[in-house]
Symmetry: C2
Subunit: 72 residues, 2 copies
DNA sequence: TGAAATAATGCTTTATAATGCACTTTACAG
DNA sequence: CTGTAAAGTGCATTATAAAGCATTATTTCA
């Protein structure tokens, strides 16, 4: 999953849950500035930041072996 | 996927491919010190670092909605 | 429209990730 | 054992993530 997709996934999820950036920042413990920077595609969040955000959005990070050309 | 699992996944994968930390550092472009720190559970890598490592290990990060108590 | 809410951005400070180098510790083959 | 390779650690430097605040831009809706 590419950087951009990751951002989109989080942003979409946040919006689906009807939470504002401000709200998400508050409940996740991530600074609002950091969140904004992330969602607007700037910056390079740390794993911790990603986890905090994912957590409160009911999502989780995973790491799996790429399928090598599965009739893609 | 928790921090610890993530580390283990990467470490296992690296070993399965019989690559040393030094080798992985070289091909991924991530500094050896950074890699060591990461694999030994210290530190909080950035998304970029994670992606670089995953990439050369033939893995990918993904983010998905957690299953709410699926007869876990 | 225009006002209110939400999101984006510039500037700044502080904390820490990324890195290299040298050294220590572990693991393992012989 | 002992030498060698791989992994871990201390120290120092540089780059940058995290954060807050103030301001500007966008979106939304009555």
């Amino acid at each position: 999953m590419h950087f951009t997709e990751l951002i989109k996934t989080i942003k979409d999820r946040r919006e689906a849950l009807q939470v504002t950036q401000e709200g998400l920042a508050a409940i996740s413990g991530v600074g609002l500035r950091t969140l904004k920077q992330f969602e607007s595609g700037k910056g390079n969040p740390t794993l911790l930041t990603l986890q905090k955000i994912s957590e409160v959005l009911g999502m989780e990070l995973c790491l799996k072996i790429k399928n090598i050309s599965p009739t893609k």
